[in-house]
């Protein structure tokens, strides 16, 4: 499959997604997901890159785009809360919806996951300031991250179908829960968008309280 068809399929998916009704913020994810949405698929996609504490008691699912300025703005705070809290499991959902280069960046990052370098590539891409980053600039940043580029190119080719499938799953999941734009964070039972460190800290606390109350 060439890139053009990939992109058009991705686009088709996102366009055909349901315009979900506005979700009350305090509705738990399982409820918000409704019957047809498999929350386990969102939280535990075996191919999704993860970070933080694998046995953490709160899971943050981050839907991100590498040309999303607010993603870049909140990325350091997200990293900080995951690190300082110590009991957060972080699931990355590459959700390239803003620009065409976003798709390329997502492919690079997911391909790096096959050599356990997702984190390095992800941070390299999120670390480029701006919202109109070209593919070439992204590639440069990835090269500079120290990842094995030969292996990366090989995985981009050999695992193209798997990478596409994961991106399509992410797009479908975002559509199914009515996400509208980037960034989107699912924190325990809550969903939110750009937050600063204090905001993340608060919502993680609230998520623990809510989960404990169940």
């Amino acid at each position: 499959m060439n890139r053009r068809t990939l992109i058009s399929r991705l686009a088709g998916l996102s366009a055909s997604g349901i315009l979900a009704a506005i979700c009350p913020a305090l509705v738990g994810i399982p409820a918000a997901l409704g019957q047809e949405v498999d929350s386990d698929a969102i939280l535990n996609d075996p191919e999704a890159p993860t970070a933080g504490n694998p046995k953490g008691d709160v899971t943050i699912v981050a839907f991100l785009d590498y040309n999303c300025p607010f993603c870049k703005k909140s990325a350091p705070d997200l990293d900080r809360i995951v690190k300082t809290d110590g009991k957060i499991r972080l699931v990355y959902k590459d959700w390239p919806i803003l620009t065409e280069a976003s798709v390329y960046g997502a492919q690079l990052a997911i391909a790096a996951h096959y050599q356990a370098q997702y984190d390095a590539v992800h941070h390299a891409l999120m670390g480029i300031p701006g919202m109109r980053i070209s593919k070439e600039t992204m590639l440069e940043a990835v090269k500079a991250s120290g990842v094995d580029m030969v292996r990366l190119q090989a995985d981009l080719g050999a695992r193209a179908d798997a990478i596409t499938a994961l991106l399509r799953r992410n797009l479908a999941q975002a559509d199914s829960i009515g996400l509208q734009g980037t960034p989107a964070y699912l924190v325990g039972p809550f969903r939110t968008s750009t937050l600063d460190y204090a905001g993340f800290k608060q919502i993680v606390t609230d998520a623990r309280a809510k989960q404990a109350a169940k």
């Binding site: 053009r4 919806i97 065409e100 734009g181 750009t194 937050l195 905001g199």
Partner: protein, 587 residues
Amino acid sequence: MSRPFLAALASLVLYLMTLAGVASAATQRSADEVFRLGVERAADHSLVLTWTALPGHYLYRESLKAQRPDGTRLALVTPAGEQKDDLNFGPTEIYHGQTQALIPAGGAPATGTIIVTYQGCAEQGICYPPIVKSLDLATGAVAKAAPIGVPERSPAAAAPAAAPAGLFSGSLALTLASFLGFGLLLSLTPCIFPMIPILSGMLAQAGGRLSARRGLVLSGVYVLAMALAYAALGVAAALSGRNLQIALQTPLALGLMSLVFVALALSMFGLFDLQLPQSWSTRLAGGKPGRGGSLGGAAMLGFTAALIVGPCVTPPLAAALIYVAQTGDMARGAAALFALGLGMGLPLVLFGTFGARILPRSGPWLVKAKQGFGFVFIGLAIWMLARVLPADVTLALWGLLAIAGGAWFGAYALIRDHLRLLPPLLAVALALYGLVLVGAAATGRQDPLRLAMRLDGAGAVEPESTAAVRVVSTSAAFDAALAEARAASRPILVDFTADWCTICREIDRTVMRDPAIRARLDTITIIRADLTVYGSDGQALMDRFGVVGPPTLLFIDAGSGREVDEARTTGATTVDAFSAMLAKAGA
């Protein structure tokens, strides 16, 4: 009230406040709720697009875009926005509240739909994907549209040039008339030059028995066959997605065609009488063979000559193919190309009809004329083989032909009783020219025309443009060249060309040699996609840009890696037109 109770109350209030904050951040409105688009036609017929963003939301100025459904960009006049310069955004202009943009009268179509794209964010920290709407200009209705163009488009694969598609709107008669006129225009280009000696040779072969009427019939059949060949090209291209004329530029096809011309030449020299089998020509010519040129022969020559000899139907073929692809109306596309062939051939019919009178009736002059065309045919054979032979071999062949021609006519003149001055002089000149060419070939010169200019003393050595030119013929090489070119941050010209492409050579000789153009070419990077050797590599390169054939010139923006909109030219071009393209590309 106890302190623990107060503390609990305070923490409850705090908790609720936090939840409220989370709620406001988490309630995601859809992009359509946030940004509303309306359209109005102003009194002066310009189109006014109005966006309204809810408080706390804004649109990016650079994201506003209007296109025709085929991807052609429409001029959109947007107001200056608020400057926003943030580390995470980079410098950009945004609009809060209400914004109006204008498509000037004349720039906007009167009816049909246009596609409008815009993109924005919420201040609280959400960026929305690009929103794509189709506007029905008749009703002003706004509907969700499948995204066309950016960002779902792959960078180096733009929609094919769509301008010629307009030729197909309107009635069939209008379409056909347009293509007929297009053909007439093409007949003024070097496209048609090789056809003239072929037709003249054919008429000369018919010789003294040729009346004006017969000339009309013969050239008419020749032109009809030519037109049929173009229609067939269209159908073949529509069915296979390949430009058959390019696929025919192989050593085998060119070699065979050259052989045909050599055979024709030998026949002209009187070595044998070249005719179709009696039964064929009888059937083809309606039962009266030998009446001055075979109709079947004329038809075959016309058909093959159009397919192989004169490959320059790229622009109309591109137009017809786009039309066929958009409508599935293959018959109309084929009919249009047929009309094109007729248009190209009309001057030939005139030439065949009235030229027949000029041709000598009989006697030694006719013999000489036929022999002359024999050399012309051999020249055509060399000209075609030049597409696949090394340049020095070709030059040597030209030299040999000139020597042989000189010797032939010189010998002829010498054995005549009454020696005239002109033929031997001509013969000596030809032979000398031939010697020079052979000598030049031995020392590595390549182009007979340029050599001749140098002998004139007028041409001197033309300086090559100093623009960086990378020649590629595969996608991999193209990618490498593109990456390198983009690193240079100069506008990039992609020039689809081939040695056998007459128009390409013409463009190189005229437009690209214009001093002003050359100066501007020095400021850009040129990637030359060489399609001389046809194969899957070249086809892949062509597919990537939706190119039908050479010559096609397009520009890529070094920053975005995308093709520059409305800066593509297919087919012949002029200094002015190309200059405008350069301006659009920022060169």
